[in-house]
Amino acid sequence: MPADGPRGRSFAASHLGSRGPLSIAATCTGIVKIYWCETGEVHALKGIDAAFPAGAVTAVAGPSGSGKSSLLRILACVDHPTAGQVRVGDQDVSGLKVGRLRRLRRHLVSFMFQRPSDNLVPYLTAEEHLDMAAEMRGLRPDGRSVELLGMVGLRARRGHRPAQLSGGEQARLALACSVIGRPSLVVADEPTAELDSESAGVLMELVAGLAEEGYSFVVATHDPIAMRVADLTLHLRHGAMEAETAADRQLSVIDAFGRIQIPPAALRLFPDRRAVITTEDGHLKVSPP
């Protein structure tokens, strides 16, 4: 892996290069997150290095407890890492004080909650939601709201309030709100988890289309429908990056200390948790002792 920038960047660059010069929407370097609770410390993230390409969909996959939510909260600028550096757009957000971060976040990142209705205000119509999102990001109403509603297939529903929309329509409205003002990053927490497969497919096709237009998405998901549109998938396990998948090729990740995770299926070969590592002809061989 050539050392040409943030660790993890070169893999994404090599697989997404067909879209032209790759730019990066966000990077994490050596991210550690420790929570302190009554029973002791919880190490949720153990040194994550990752680059999130601009104009692409990055999926963050992994079982419960793998650190997905912690990573998402840090990328969405609602939580600080215990150590490490986070850049979103052209801002280093890791060291910012809470107030500054909160003000900056409105323009830098938007967030989509898992439950579609949690993204929406019960009193506002679909069009008012978009006007409100535009106003919050310092834009003047310019007719873009109706255009965006048309793009997500809700033009005829512009006067409807959230409870008059189906779950899929609510999610599409939340998506339209999240991209208004072109934030550097749209972070979505399992956006298809509460949708039927047809609505999930429609939503993710829209996400993919927006990525083609230059919007940058990071999506935590287990859902194959959502994974299918991802340009890059980061697999987390036990708070560390296990592997990355791009263009159907999966590569294991070697962290800054040289650690690599053995795939769970291969662990049974090592009941004593000891291995012999040999280098032969440029290949690394890991065998039971």
Partner: protein
């Protein structure tokens, strides 16, 4: 409570909304659920009606029909005594404010900005009322935080404050104490009770027995049928928080 200084339509006893023989059913998988089977009731200005009933009895459906989010298959909703008036779905937030179980706070806005959303949108309301409600709900020290940074109970109180800023004619609240501890549940109920002083009519769906203390009327819903189940003794005005005078 009498309100001699209030306009007639806000004075106690004036009917705010009437539900006439409303039927509503929906499909759950292959099953057809008759959520409301001929419900009739009237809500008056300045009263608190508490709607009790087991889960799945139709409480939320009734609130949704009342605010126009769902349309009845039969029957009608009559707003302010005018059968030819606009349907509830077209009424503004200063007429009907609903606090559903999904709170829908805007995460990019602070707690104070969420509560003052109506002002931001150019509807009426004043920042004095916003601050008074923040204080009444015990949120003043959290005003600058975002909804992410506060508990679910605090988020629920924020949604209630946001609903009350415009002094709506009708407040519909679905389990408004559902995320509150005992002390805050009492506080929430007392602020709701205080809101009726300016003629707001409140319908609260609740499992919480404590809600009966502020109720003028208790309605019970079971199998889609609503029955009046009595008039409990209500909390006296002098037990209400003195810091809160409802917005006008």
């Amino acid at each position: 409570m009498t309100s001699g200084i209030l306009p007639v339509e806000r004075a106690d006893g004036a009917t705010v909304v009437e539900v006439r023989d409303v039927h509503k059913s929906y499909r759950r998988g292959s099953e057809e659920v008759h959520a409301l089977r001929g419900v009739s009731l009237a809500l008056q200005a300045g009263e608190v009606a508490v709607l009790m009933g087991p889960s799945g009895s139709g409480k939320s459906t009734l609130l949704n029909v009342l605010c126009g989010w769902e349309h009845p298959e039969r029957g009608e909703i009559v707003w302010m005594g005018d059968p030819s008036g606009p349907p509830p779905s077209q009424l503004r937030w200063d007429q009907i404010a609903i606090v559903p179980q999904n709170l829908g706070l805007m995460e990019e806005l602070s707690i104070r900005e969420n509560v003052s959303l109506s002002i931001r949108l150019g509807l009426s309301g004043s920042m004095e009322d916003v601050d008074e409600l923040l204080s009444a709900f015990g949120l003043e020290h959290l005003a600058a935080r975002s909804p992410w940074e506060v508990s679910l109970g605090e988020q629920q109180r924020t949604a209630l404050a946001r609903a009350l800023v415009l002094a709506p004619r009708l407040l519909l609240a679905d389990e408004p104490t559902g995320h509150q501890d005992e002390a805050f549940a009492r506080r929430v109920l007392r602020v709701i009770r205080a809101a009726t002083r300016i003629g707001t009519s409140c319908l609260i769906a609740s499992h919480n027995e404590e809600a009966l203390r502020i109720a003028d009327r208790v309605l019970t819903i079971r199998d889609g049928v609503v029955r009046e189940s009595g008039t409990p003794s209500t909390t006296q005005d002098d037990e209400l928080p003195r810091t809160f005078s409802p917005p006008r």
